[in-house]
Symmetry: C2
Subunit: 329 residues, 2 copies
C-alpha cells in the first residue's frame, strides 16, 4: 500500500540532517572529512559524468569528488552547501559553487566530467541523482539570488550549511519573531488536467514558448491566500475561460527551475467554451481520449505529443488514460 | 460531486483580476472610483466591526470604507493593495496600510470599528471575510518585509496593485530572465495525521508553544527539492522518530501567519516507537480513536483537546474519525 508514484526530481534518498547542520563544528568536521563527497556547480550547471552502459535509459550521473581533489579550489568565500548524509555509504554530500572559475580547469580532476546545461539535460540524469541535483540547484540558486536582506537591504551571512541566511544588521526585524526572509523559498504552483463534463475529453494548452507540436496541462503559480483547489479554478479560467468544479490531488513534484513545487491535480470542468488568454497561451483545446493515446505513444498522425515521463504533466495525463481504459471513450 | 471541503481562510470569492491589475490606468481609476471599498490594516491588524446578531457563530466582519472616507488618509507613499473585484456588488476592493498613524483617529470614520489583533481573533471572523483577510494579511506582510531587492540590495517599486515588486537597479539580474524575487512568497508546509499500522491509533504532538492540554497534528515546512510525500516522511521522523510509508493528500489551507500554505495529509506509520525531537516538541503520543472522539467533542476527562474547526488539523482528525466510524476501533 505504500507504493506511490514518485515523480522525477523527487527521488532524493539523502538524510538532510536538519538538526545536525545547525552545528558549525559538526559541519566543519564533515567538510574536511576524507570520506565526504562534493558536487561542483558552475553557474548552476552540475559537473556530471556520462553513463556508458548502453542498456541504461539514462545518460548522466553526478560526478562526486572527495575533499582532497577539491580542497585547492576552496577559498574563504566559496559557497558550500550541505546536501545531506548518504547512510548507505556513510558519506556526507556537499555542493560547492565554482562559478566564475575557468570550467576547463576541472577536467584535470576528472577528464570525463563536464558541466551540463541543466535544462533539458537533467531530464536524462539517473533519477536518484536527479533528486539530489534538484535540491542542489534550487538551493544554490537561492544562495546566489538572495544575498541581501529583503527587509533592510543589508548583507547577510550563510548559516546551517547553506539552509539559512542571517541579516548582518542586528537591529533588523528579520532577526526577531516569526517570518520567512531567512529561509529558502519554494514556489507552489498548480498543474491540472481538466476533464470535460462528459468525461470524454481533456483540455491541453500550448504556452508560447513550447516546442512546436507539444501540448501540455495548464499550470500556474499559487497566490497568497489561496488553497490548491482555488488556484486551479482561477488559473484554468484565466488561461482558457473554462470553469472548474471539483479538483482532485494527483501527486507533487519539485521542479528546480528555479524553485517550483508542482501540485498535480485532475480538475472537472463545468463549462466547455474556450477563450484563450492570448498573453500567456498560444492555444488551448479539448482532446478526445484516443487522440491523447496517440500523443502519449508518439503515434499521432500530425506528430503532436505531450511532455516526457519525467514531467508530472505526463504522469497526470497517463493516469487519466489508464483510469478510463475500461470505459468506451 | 464538486462538494469539497473548503477550509477556513480559503473562502475568498474575489476575482483577483491578475491581468487587469497590471494596467496602471485601470487601477488608478478603480482607486478613485466612488464604489470602491477599502480595508484598513494597521501593523497587519484589520479594521473590523462586531457582528451583533446573537444567532451568528461569528464575531467579526471586515469594515469596508469608501474612497470618500479614506481619501484624506492617502498620501503618495501609502501602500495600496488591490484585493480583487467582488462581482456580486461590482465593487473593487483594496487594502491600505495605515501603520504608524494614530489608530484612534479611524474611529471617526466608523465609531464601532476597531483594529483587531489577528491571532486568534481572525478565527472568529465571518468565513468569507476571513478569506479576504488571509489574502490581505499575507500580501501586506510581504509588501512590508520585502522592500529591498534580495539580489542586489537596492530599493524596489511596487507594481501590479501590490502583487509585484521591481528592483530600481536596472542592471540587476532580477530584471532579466526567470526568477522569483519579484513575486509574493508562499511557504508550502505539510501537516499530517499519522495512523498506526493497526489502524487503531493516531499520532499527535505538542509543540512547546501550544496552550496547555492542546494536542495537534505534526507539521513542518517543505524544503527545496522535496515532494509533499517526502516532506511528510522527513518531518514525522524528525519530530517523533516514527517512520511513514504511504501518504494521502486530504486538503489544503492558506495560513496567513505570515504566508504558509498548509498541505494536509493522512500518513501511514510503518513503526511505533516514539523519540521526541526535544528542540521543537514538548511531546508526541499515540492516541486511540475513542480518546480522539473525546478530544474532538470537548469531553475528555483530563480536558485534553485538539485545535478548533477553523484549523486544518481539526478537519483531518475529524475525517479520520468519520472514516473509521463503522469499524470497531
Ligand atoms: N514565483 C513566481 N515565479 C515566476 N513567475 C511568477 C511567480 N509568481 C507569479 N509569476 C508570474 O506568473 C506568470 C506565469 O503565469 P502562471 O504560471 O500561469 O501563473 C509569470 O510570467 C509571472 O508574471
Ligand atoms: N519559511 C519558513 N518560515 C519559518 N520558519 C521556517 C521556514 N522554513 C524553515 N523554518 C524553520 O522551521 C522551524 C519550524 O519547524 P517545522 O515547522 O517543523 O519545519 C522554524 O523554527 C524555522 O527554524
Ligand atoms: Mg500558466
Ligand atoms: Mg498566474
Ligand atoms: Mg496563468
Ligand atoms: Mg522543518
Ligand atoms: Mg513542526
Ligand atoms: Mg519539524
Ligand atoms: Zn535585515
Ligand atoms: Zn536588484
Amino acid at each position: 500500500p505504500d507504493q506511490q508514484l514518485r515523480n522525477f526530481f523527487s527521488l532524493n534518498h539523502l538524510d538532510r540532517a536538519s538538526e545536525k547542520r545547525k552545528d558549525k563544528d559538526w559541519l566543519q568536521a564533515k567538510i574536511s572529512d576524507e570520506t565526504s563527497q562534493f558536487l561542483l556547480l558552475s553557474e548552476l550547471k552540475p559537473f556530471v559524468l556520462p553513463i556508458k552502459d548502453k542498456t541504461s535509459k539514462w545518460r548522466y550521473r553526478l560526478c562526486w569528488l572527495d575533499h582532497n581533489k577539491i580542497s585547492s579550489h576552496l577559498t574563504s568565500d566559496t559557497v558550500i552547501l550541505f546536501l545531506g548524509i548518504d547512510h548507505s555509504s556513510s558519506q556526507s554530500l556537499f555542493a560547492i559553487d565554482v562559478s566564475g572559475k575557468e570550467e576547463s580547469k576541472f577536467k584535470d580532476l576528472q577528464p570525463e566530467g563536464s558541466f551540463m546545461v541543466p535544462f533539458p539535460g537533467s531530464l536524462q540524469m539517473e533519477p536518484s541523482d536527479a533528486g539530489i541535483f534538484a535540491e542542489a540547484r534550487s538551493m544554490m540558486d537561492w544562495l546566489e539570488r538572495y544575498k541581501f536582506c529583503a527587509t533592510c537591504g543589508s548583507s547577510t551571512d550563510i548559516t546551517e550549511g547553506g539552509h539559512k541566511r542571517v541579516c548582518r544588521n542586528q537591529e533588523c526585524k528579520s532577526n526577531k519573531g516569526i517570518h520567512n526572509t531567512a529561509y529558502p523559498r519554494t514556489d507552489p504552483s498548480v498543474i491540472m488536467l481538466v476533464i470535460s463534463a462528459d468525461g470524454k475529453r481533456c483540455l491541453l494548452g500550448r504556452k508560447k514558448q513550447f516546442p512546436a507540436k507539444m501540448w501540455s496541462c495548464l499550470a500556474g503559480f499559487m497566490e497568497p491566500g489561496e488553497s490548491i483547489e482555488d488556484t486551479v479554478r482561477r488559473e484554468v479560467e484565466e488561461e482558457s475561460g473554462v470553469k472548474v468544479g471539483r479538483v482532485d490531488y494527483h501527486s507533487s513534484q519539485p521542479w528546480p527551475f528555479p524553485a517550483s513545487l508542482m501540485l498535480g491535480t485532475i480538475a472537472y470542468a463545468k463549462t466547455e467554451d474556450i477563450k484563450v488568454d492570448e498573453d500567456e497561451m498560444e492555444d488551448a483545446q479539448w482532446f478526445r481520449r484516443p487522440e491523447i493515446v496517440q500523443m502519449l505513444t508518439h503515434q499521432h498522425p500530425q506528430g503532436l505529443y505531450i511532455p516526457p515521463e519525467q514531467a508530472i504533466a505526463h504522469q497526470i495525463i497517463k493516469s487519466w488514460v489508464r483510469n478510463t481504459a475500461s470505459s468506451n471513450l
